[in-house]
Amino acid sequence: MAMEFLRPATWDEALAAKAEHPGALPISGGTDVMVEINFDATRPEYLLDLTRIEELTDWSADGERLRIGAGVTYTSLIADLADRLPGLAMASRTVGSPQIRNRGTVAGNLGSASPAGDAHPPLLADDAVVEAHSARGVRHIPITEFYTGVKRNALEPDELIAAVLVPPADGPQQFAKIGTRNAMVISVTAFGLALHPSTGTVGAAFGSAAPTPRRATKAEQFLAAELTESGRWDSRAELDPAAVTRFGALVAEAATPIDDVRGTADYRTHALSVMARRTLVWAWTDYRRKRVRTCA
């Protein structure tokens, strides 16, 4: 069966095309889609190319959030937004290689919704919102409701991702990922952490250790309560080592990984607890250092 190629010039045309052909597979950087097509793992009747739509490649400050257009590549995100979205930028730097970051997008990661997508943990830790458009209108999907299963997301068949909305960091953020080498790896497991001193809350999420990217809610609540009750948000005193250990254990407890070619479930669980502890110490060190700098 031949594959039809749709190349809308405007966003309205793209939405109309998606409404008319709900089975059309959107393609932007091609990182995931082209591999599937080249391997003949998927043979969509229609491919919907979004690379001509210039407005998708813009980002802007949208009220209290940054609005990252669906066509913004990892390379431009790293160049333009690393100061405001450090966690997402850290994750972006670990994506593939320069060639892949030049074309790949966060929205593509969301569209694929692979549990191993690098952008997911920081998006979850930072309470991102997916802005989905269709010919019917606009829908804002909280990131915690976006991932519905392995490589499945909450988009309706006629919807396209227009942008992802992410609040700029109000505190330190960290990201860690385990793979066989620094570049070109699908993560064995990955972890993102965002501390929110302005609200006294914590965001902690992981990838490749459950059917979907997932937040470690109990670990978040434990750490937020610990930091609040001990007065550490204000005192910025060193962390209690027992609390750090407990945080790591709670993150690991939230995981339900499987054994696969990249790693065993036991390894992933253990690695998550280690990454959670390490990133927490890094983030807290950063938080303590910032005060010294502002006081000086």
Binding site: E4, F5, R7, I37, N38, T51, P98, R103, M184
Partner: protein, 160 residues
């Protein structure tokens, strides 16, 4: 029914136009329809980097792009690096430092290295390794490639 689509793009400064099926990758289009066989195809799924070219000034893997997506773009392949019969300083350095053996990865390596030096004219060895991290070489063990890029960087800095 899906007919052929006409794709018009600039390759190494010259405009080309050819008909192709929407399913065709940019790599196959450049090799088979336009004759730029310097575009090497290794894995055809975005892992080896051999097919790396420059599209509108940024490197891309031409096996993971469709030819139709390249409509209206400016592409540079390895054939566009040398000018007036003179090798590009990067090519010169690869030759001088044995930055290749079989040469299969070289067009992609040169494209990646070329972009790296545009962004960072004085990279450390680690930065070079990061810059070519999406390109596999099975001959050199990479050390000679790193040496080549460093030497070319020095040469380019001294001449510009």
């Amino acid at each position: 029914m899906t007919g052929k689509v006409t794709v018009t793009l600039k390759v190494n400064g010259r405009t080309f136009s050819a008909d192709c099926e929407p399913r065709k990758t940019l790599a196959d289009f450049l090799r088979q329809d336009l004759g730029f066989t310097g575009v090497h195809l290794g894995c055809e799924h975005g892992v080896c980097g051999a097919c790396t070219i420059s599209v509108d000034g940024s490197t891309a893997r031409s096996c993971c792009m469709l030819a139709v997506q390249a409509e209206g773009t400016e592409v540079t392949t390895v054939e566009g690096l040398a000018s007036d019969g003179n090798l590009h300083p990067l090519q010169e350095a690869f030759w001088k430092h044995h930055g290749l053996q079989c040469g299969f990865c070289t067009p992609g390596m040169l494209a990646a290295a070329s972009e790296l030096l545009e962004d960072n004219p004085d990279p450390t060895a680690d930065e070079i390794r990061e810059g070519i991290s999406g390109n596999l070489c099975r001959c050199t063990g990479y050390q000679f490639i790193v040496d080549s890029v460093q030497d070319a960087a020095q040469h380019l800095r001294s001449t510009t």
